[in-house]
């Protein structure tokens, strides 16, 4: 079975759970002898892992830099350079790009094979942007330009790479997969890790939504990371549930285990939030919870680990509530730092507004940190032994944090059973299910 996979972020350059998931899926599929060619856009020039080859970003044509990887068998890395970044926002993305003109964008758009209504919808923003109306549109022109550029170049690679199945991740790469299908007519499996309806909240971008919907309609099979996501795909995008397969993410549970009751080397109990500081992840609710807990127990410490477009707003909110003494921001953490912060935590809170999966909850549990997770998350489907609450119910979340800090038997029993749950949630199992989906289309 030969798979042509279109990915985006990949270790070491990751900014969230998506890179982790993509890496683990590739690794486990390779272990199960799936012949896999991974096509990645690159934004970085260093490669500590040693199996990814980089080329200069001045040349944007696709190249087949196929190379056997060091640590992983069967993975090839033809390189395509774009500025594509899954969590780019208007600020950092504009810095990356030189002046992309509306003309470039329109030329790429004419080359794309897209339904007319999506083309006109997408084309409209160029006019708005040319008129200099607002920054958001300019950012979108830039991002969509990159998506199209990647789609055309990466899709064309299908001619050069032997494959039976095309596997794409989310809307950023689905157009490349559909482009590839035009070349060699192989079935497309679209893996949905997150939807615009998750990310956008009340401000769903209708153009991205249209591309997602089109991509899912065209895909032969869809993989959703949770039943929660599957339901949303059916509900918001009107896709037939019969072609959506739920494959939960996994966790590598070989981290150093910590005694849940061991006294941690710090004076005060600590409650952790780890994730992008964006609307989707609910940092606002975390701060409200902190305020409520501090009214009862004034010495608890709260840490927000992560970066995002709401960071400044959140710092201001903390200051205005006068709880800065207890609430700390670490910025984006990588590698060992992530483990270190988990080891310091007494409770992990994931108040996501809409969380397709929520790998970080599994990570926290693997470090023996009891978790309180949002009911609006996919991970709550695989964890029976954690506490859950509605993301908006800050009273409830605060009460549960206080209960976890107060009752030792609760920590002990829930962690003991959660670790049994974790044994069941493995990437190897996810890979088996993905192979099952491949078999459906071949």
């Amino acid at each position: 079975m030969k798979v042509l996979m279109y990915g985006w972020e990949f270790p070491p350059k990751i900014s969230g759970g998506l890179g982790v998931a993509c890496y683990a899926i590739v690794k486990e599929l390779a272990r199960k002898h799936v012949d896999l060619t991974l096509i990645l856009p690159q934004t970085t020039h260093t490669d500590p892992v040693g199996h990814v080859n980089f080329i200069n970003c001045s040349n944007v044509t696709a190249r087949d830099e196929a190379k056997e990887s060091v640590g992983i068998v069967n993975i090839k890395h033809p390189k395509i350079v774009t500025y594509l970044h899954p969590y780019a926002n208007s600020n950092n993305f504009r810095c990356l790009l030189s002046d992309e003109t509306a003309q470039d964008f329109l030329i790429l758009l004419t080359k794309m094979h897209l339904p007319a209504e999506i083309k006109s919808m997408v084309g409209d923003i160029v006019e708005a942007s040319a008129a200099g109306k607002n920054i958001t549109d300019k950012y979108e022109v830039n991002l969509l330009t990159e998506v199209f550029r990647y789609a055309l170049h990466a899709g064309a690679l299908a001619e050069e790479v032997e494959h039976d199945i095309i596997h794409a991740h989310d809307w950023l790469t689905v157009l490349a997969a559909l482009e590839a299908k035009r070349h060699r007519h192989k079935p497309v499996v679209l893996h949905i890790h997150a939807l615009e309806t998750d990310r956008g909240g009340l401000w769903v971008d209708k153009r991205i939504f249209a591309i997602e919907k089109y991509g899912m309609e065209q895909a032969d099979q869809i993989i959703a990371v949770s039943q929660f996501t599957k339901n949303n795909i059916v509900k918001y995008y009107g896709i037939a549930p019969e072609k959506i397969n739920v494959v939960h993410n996994g966790i590598y549970c070989d981290e150093e285990k910590i005694d849940p009751l061991a006294k941690k080397d710090k004076p005060h109990e600590m409650v952790l939030f780890l994730g992008r500081i964006t609307q989707q992840k609910g940092p606002y609710f975390f701060i409200e919870v902190a305020k409520r807990v501090l009214e009862e127990k004034p010495d608890v410490q709260f840490v927000l680990a992560g970066n995002g477009d709401l960071l400044i707003d959140m710092i201001e909110r903390v200051a205005s509530l006068r709880i800065g003494k207890n609430v700390h921001f670490t910025g984006f953490l990588q590698g060992k730092e992530v483990g270190d912060i988990y080891k310091l935590a007494d409770v992990y809170v994931m108040p996501s507004v809409s969380e397709p999966f929520g790998l970080s909850a599994l990570e926290a549990l693997s470090y023996n940190v009891p978790a309180i997770i949002s009911k609006q998350s996919g991970v709550s489907e695989v964890l029976r032994h954690v506490l859950v609450a509605d993301f908006w119910d800050t009273e409830e979340m605060a009460a549960k944090i206080l209960a976890l800090l107060k009752y030792q038997a609760l920590r002990k029993t829930s962690l003991a059973h959660a670790s049994e749950d974790l044994q069941m949630v493995t990437w190897a199992r996810a890979a088996d299910k993905i192979i099952g989906v491949y078999r459906k289309v071949t």
Partner: protein
């Protein structure tokens, strides 16, 4: 003769309201009256009323022949009075027929025997009085909460004057022996032990509506045939089950009421078959052997042990917290507080905290008002924390009051002394 011995457990726990950490010290209101009322009325309409009326009808149709026994908890009767007096009325009419036996158990359906014999005896006494008052019945048969039983319990129950005790006919205790005979508990001289025939009971209580069961559907004639086929290998067949089997666990739509309605007729077609109450069995039949049960057993789950209530740290911790308050509650001698504390002893609170998700997981889920065992534990412990704080506050008041009296006494003593001194001193 083979006696069919029916006993129905009638119990409805009181649900606790959602009680968060922030309520501790701010609200002493623990029970969810709305949910309790709703559940009670729902079950009364589906089960208590139609089933008890049907039994009343059967007793009238088979005068002196059809007999049954009930164990009605105090918690149930309290709720009857609040929400459904008509249910209690039907039970009273059943009692008046003379063909119904009422058993004794702990008033609060508690695990008190495992933690405090003193409290156990008080609750049994309270239940004995209640049954006498409500049904004009002096119970001579005892069943412990969830049929929890061992040798030790039998001895205590015998010492309380009971003639008969009920227990589970667990395979691990019986081995090759049959539950269909009367036994004598080891260490007892008068008390007789009746054991549940769980296979025949579960055919009604668990499998009746299960379409995947090879025997589905079971009608009264087929079931009576199973009972009759035990002729020659049984003195009696003990069918002990939840009263909610009729209409609540097994629905009317699946024919459970028709089944019950027709059963006596088919059973009595065999001239050697009859219905008896546990106390009647105890009078007429002699024990065939002594039965040694050193370890606790119960009728719960496949394990037939205590793990449904004492299987994890959550449960042990919660049980320890509540039973630790015993002495303080006793010292305060306040009936309201005693009642609040005892209501929290009901075994169901701990059942909700069970983390066993094996074959019995579904049964636990069915009965559980909480999303998971952890929420049950948090809610319960929050309430216990509040009660503990309140109790210690009251106790401090109690301690400081006599001190005032004492110091008052001391003061008057001094005054008296000084007065005397003044009187005497005036002279010198």
């Amino acid at each position: 003769m083979v006696a069919i011995c029916f006993y129905f457990q009638v119990h409805q726990p009181k649900r606790l309201r959602k009680y968060t950490y922030f309520d501790i010290g701010r609200s002493h209101y623990y029970e969810d009256d709305t949910a309790n009322r709703e559940i009670f009325l729902k079950v009364a309409n589906k089960c208590y009323l139609p089933a008890s009326c049907l039994l009343l009808d059967l007793i009238r149709r088979y005068p002196g022949t059809f007999k049954i026994a009930f164990s009605v908890t105090g918690v149930f009767i309290e709720q009857c009075k609040l929400y459904s007096p008509e249910t209690l009325d039907v039970f009273k009419r059943l009692a008046a027929t003379g063909q119904v036996e009422f058993l004794n158990e702990t008033y609060y359906h508690s695990l008190s025997f495992l933690f405090s014999q003193e409290e156990f005896k008080k609750q049994v006494e309270k239940h004995r009085n209640l049954i006498r008052e409500e049904f004009n019945y002096d119970a001579t048969t005892f069943r412990n909460t969830e049929l929890i039983y061992n040798n030790e319990l039998a001895k205590v129950v015998e010492s309380l004057g009971y003639k008969t005790i009920l227990a589970e006919g667990a395979d691990k205790v019986l081995g090759w022996r049959s539950p269909n005979y009367v036994y004598q508990p080891v260490g007892c001289s008068k008390l007789k032990l009746l054991l549940r025939n769980y296979r025949l009971t579960d055919d009604i209580a668990f499998r009746f509506s299960e379409k995947s069961w090879s025997e589905y559907p079971v009608y009264a004639d087929k079931y009576a045939y199973w009972l009759h086929s035990l002729h020659g290998q049984a003195d009696l067949i003990n069918l002990f089950m939840d009263f909610e089997t009729f209409g609540e666990h097994q629905w009317q739509e699946f024919g459970i009421f028709d089944f019950l309605n027709n059963l006596p007729e088919y059973v009595l077609r065999h001239p050697e078959y009859t219905f008896m109450t546990p106390s009647e069995v105890s009078q007429k039949l002699q024990p065939v052997a002594a039965l040694d049960v050193p370890n606790f057993m119960s009728w719960a789950d496949v394990d037939r042990d205590l793990t449904a209530w004492r299987g994890n740290h959550l449960q042990e911790d919660a049980l320890a917290s509540i039973y630790n308050l015993r002495d303080t509650v006793y010292d305060l001698k306040n009936d309201d507080l005693l009642n609040v504390w005892r209501s929290l002893l009901t075994s169901d609170h701990f059942y909700y905290m069970c983390t066993k998700y094996a074959a019995d997981g579904d049964v636990h889920k069915y009965f559980n008002p909480y999303r998971n065992p952890y929420e049950a534990y948090i809610n319960y412990q929050n309430i216990v924390s509040d009660l503990a704080a309140e109790l210690s506050l009251r106790k401090q008041e109690l301690i400081s009051q006599p001190e005032i009296q004492k110091s008052n006494g001391f003061l008057t003593d001094i005054l008296r002394f000084l007065g005397r001194k003044a009187k005497n001193g005036g002279g010198t």
